[in-house]
């Protein structure tokens, strides 16, 4: 298979899937081996850049997703007749930050850092798709733990949680989850 065709296949798959596609799935379906994939995606993105294309491919942790470029958002909004969403509240940003920097964490952990029950804020972030459940803690009550999603990464212009801006001096908020749940 020619490189041209490989690129076409990657584009078609990402376009049709809409959602982020895991590297292994993209590789399997396109017939491009996983090692070559990142360089081909880079090639596509360079091409989009050169042409001033309205779309681009974002890397979100181990997945790729095709999206529009920021600068065209006013035009898209006009076409779709949608409005901007209400910005995230301070409380929501705070909870999102706690989860992002300490994931996976339970609601109890979040509550402990904020000193207030944050269950509904967490649920709200789940509904917005910014946060998702990530299993349960192996302690009594088996509380659910949460992590950020690809939507979160995309929404904040990150390609991985490793790219989160460092917290002044501290990399993590240092609380041992085990102590909290006692």
């Amino acid at each position: 298979m020619e490189i041209k065709e490989k690129l076409g296949a990657i584009e078609a798959i990402l376009f049709a899937s809409g959602e982020p596609v895991e590297m292994y799935r993209l590789s399997e379906a396109s017939g491009v081996d996983a090692g070559t994939l990142p360089s081909l995606i880079r090639l596509l993105n360079e091409r989009y850049d050169d042409m001033g294309s309205g779309i681009c491919i974002k890397k979100l942790e181990g997945s790729f997703q095709m999206c529009t470029r920021e600068k065209y958002s006013p035009m898209i909004r006009t076409a779709l007749e949608t409005k901007r969403n209400a910005p995230l509240s301070n409380a929501a940003m705070e909870v999102l930050t706690i989860i992002a920097y300490n994931q996976p964490v339970s609601k109890g952990f979040v509550e402990n850092v904020r000193g207030i029950d944050s269950s509904s804020v967490v649920n709200n972030l789940v509904e917005k798709g910014l946060v998702e459940e990530a299993g349960r803690l192996d302690i009594p009550g088996r509380p659910l733990v949460y992590r950020t999603t690809a939507v979160f990464l995309r929404s904040f212009g990150l390609s991985s949680t490793a790219d989160l801006p460092p917290i002044s001096g501290h990399n993590r908020i240092l609380i041992d989850e085990g102590n909290i749940e006692s």
């Binding site: 899937s17 529009t68 940003m93 904020r114 207030i116 929404s155």
Partner: protein, 248 residues
Amino acid sequence: MEKLTFSLENFEGPLDVLLNLVTKHKLDIFDIEISVLLEQYMNFLDEAHEKDMELAGEFLEMAARLIYIKTAYLLPQKEEAEKMKKELEGALIELSLCREAAAKLSENFIGDDIFVRQPMKLKADTTYRLVHDPERLVNAYMTAVSGRKIHKGRTNIENKINSVVKRRIVPVLTKVVHILRELYETGEVYMDKLYEGADDRSSRVATFLAVLELTKFGRIKISDDNMRVFFSGDRRRKKWKSKKNSEQ
């Protein structure tokens, strides 16, 4: 010091209030003057209370926690007090760092400016194909239902109480309330009566600390023989005495 004029509903819980007080009064977050913080916090609660707002439990719990720390400093052994103060400072530092990070993060929000597509509706066979042991269903179900308890029902409350008791905050507060209640009823009470039912050590310590704290605040006085406690104001005490006399 400047008086706080904001109200409860502007705050996300007691830590948020404390953090604001620390900032407002330029307290050193790494070495907080507990007595100043306590005073300011109490003023805040009074004001919120005056506005006829129901004080949520966590706000009172925080008051008790501050009182406890302050009281523990009166003990000859200061380790416990230091430890609890550090814990509180830690929590405040954490929250303020978290706020900083949240502010930084929210500057980068571009979620509203990036659009994605809905997946194409293709006729693809997405039927699940794997086969599992039916016993997995039981395990998953039990886990799902066990999770239910932490959201609903008693376990949650019990956990909360346990964690509070573990920090030994509630005992002092409940003892303070207990003592005041006794005194409101009678104006004077025998010390022994305050210790009634306080069988375990932590409960006795809590009573002791509660008396100490109330004395220190000038709320109550202890009789010279250390047998009785009474309100600092004389009025009630007399009332109580006369009542007692009439009973005799």
